[in-house]
Amino acid sequence: MSNSQAAPSQKIKHSGGIADRLYTLVVAVISIAAFIMVAYPLYFIIIASVSNSTMVNQGQVILWPKDINLYGYEQIFKDTRIWQGYKNTIIYTVLGTLLNLLVTLPAAYALSQRKFRARRFIMPLFVITMYFGGGMIPTYLLIRDLNLLNTPWVMIVNGAISVYNLIITRTFFETAIPEELHEAATLDGCSHFRYFISVVVPLSKAVISVITLYYVVGHWNDFFNALLYINTDSLQPLQIVLRNILLSNQAFAGGAGSGAGAGAGSYAQQFADQIKYAVIIVSTVPVLIIYPFIQKYFEKGVMIGAVKG
């Protein structure tokens, strides 16, 4: 991707005019500023998580960690709430994403088929839901009436399909997979299911990776559904646990933590910030790890679907 992007701009040789040089300068300044503004806070969290909290708060930790210790991480390691949250989030993310793919991919395939007549009225019905919905209360009552409140299922089933991802996938199937393939397969006596599984899916790794990442990040960071629909402690996902530790300062109030053993509920105040930084890293790293693997497909995958709306 980046090769094809670079091609046009590389063709513009600098004529050496003042305007062009000024342009290059402005681009350089903005890109360096953007880089620092994003990279530095992220880097700071990392060094702050292994440094002495007092020195961090005094502003002594700027470029390198000081008085390195892993106290924050040790404390997290002992905290049962975080591991319970981790376990729940992993379950919700894995099952939820699987369900997402099982619902989205076949639907996108069917809707990409020109011979499928019903798509003309199914598609608008889907798109409407992107902009118009029942709202928080009717949805809450529906979930309640379906007996999904306080069950892991609400975290997995609710949001089983995102119309945005469906559109991206459908458009990919329409544009990137030649119709002749289907004709050839049909001549060989291949059914839609067979064709979908053995031809379409293997050819669509790019778009499948992109929407998988979208879904994974969505489940991993899902806070809203848990806030609304889950109030059993043992079912809480990581984000709710994080809120309790990071924002409500429950961790420091002395055992106010949910269902954790004594000791895990309260941290020493002086290490509070160090633990917070460590918690942030421990909870964010898993998503960041997946991302570089999928990055190369990004622009292609996103572009193909989004512009057609």
Binding site: A6, T24, Q295
Partner: protein, 287 residues
């Protein structure tokens, strides 16, 4: 093959739409969603006459307005910059970095803001004070006047890179011949941006602007909710947090539904208006 999706959408998206009638009924716990007595527009009137009507509407509008005004052009600018970097390696490093904050959850982002903006020990707070950009006694987390800037700027920090992807992708499809032609006509780099690159991504810009207009009042519940505290509540109570607070927390289901429906209707009106306007002026539209 489309059946699971249709069933899901029917139950989870159209089901609640059927439940909208709750906004016009007296909610009855024993009779469920649609069993209550018909109440007409009572709950809408209750909202319009309540002291929370103007504050919630105003706060929602202000946050949404500044989010679009400042947040929408930034990714376009970033995309133009990224597109102009000629070293592939530098481009890649910049892109990878600016996409990254998007993967941070709202909970963690708000926690970060709290730590970094802390009036005594915060990194950003200290930095701004050292430069005398803010008075020494400012508390960026508690100050009602700081809520909107903090909300909008942190949103840009988090999503600008991510949102630029689509424009970068659009820019990559600009025909190399157009650049050559511009150069032969004697255009400098600024003029190329203005006459070649911006027109090339204009359709994308318009479509995304329409889509953003459609959610103008859906100010992010999560972030507002998490950033809310007793000090900033006068400016941070938006319609969605209000629906949660009165509807779910205090079980006023019918009233909450009415407020929510009001929000949805305004969103939809904006979407339609923006769409119609774009259709008229540029012949580009969503539907």
């Amino acid at each position: 093959m489309v059946l699971p999706a249709v069933i899901y959408i029917a139950i989870f998206c159209y089901g609640p739409m059927y439940g909208i009638q709750l906004a016009f009924r007296e909610f009855d716990f024993s009779k469920g969603l649609t069993g209550g007595e018909w109440a007409g527009l009572k709950y809408f009137e209750q909202y319009f006459n309540s002291p929370m009507f103007w504050p919630t509407l105003r706060n929602t509008f202000i946050i949404a307005f500044f989010s679009i005004l400042l947040g929408f052009p930034m990714p376009i600018l970033l995309a133009l910059v990224v597109n102009s970097i000629r070293s592939n390696r530098r481009k890649r490093i910049l892109q990878t970095t600016v996409y990254m904050p998007y993967f941070i959850s709202t909970v963690v982002l708000v926690a970060l803001l709290q730590i970094m903006l802390s009036p005594t020990t915060g990194l950003i707070d200290g930095f701004l004070k050292a430069l005398h950009l803010i008075p020494a006694d400012t508390n960026l987390i508690g100050d009602p006047g700081a809520f909107v800037p903090v909300y909008v700027i942190s949103a840009i920090w988090q999503a600008c890179g991510w949102n630029s992807i689509i424009f970068i992708a659009a820019l990559s499809s600009v025909d190399a011949q157009q650049y050559d032609a511009a150069r032969i006509d004697g255009a400098n780099r600024w003029q190329t941006v203005w006459h070649v690159e911006i027109p090339a991504i204009l359709p994308t810009i318009i479509i995304l602007l329409i889509m953003n207009m459609g959610s103008i009042l859906s100010v992010g519940f999560e972030k507002t909710f998490l950033m809310q505290n007793s000090l900033n509540k006068p400016v941070s109570e938006v319609i969605s947090t209000y629906v949660f607070n009165v509807g779910v927390k205090s079980n006023q289901f019918s009233f909450g539904s009415a407020v929510g429906l009001f929000n949805t209707l305004i969103n939809f009106t904006f979407l339609m208006l923006a769409n119609a306007l774009a259709k008229k002026t540029s012949k580009i539209s969503l539907m």
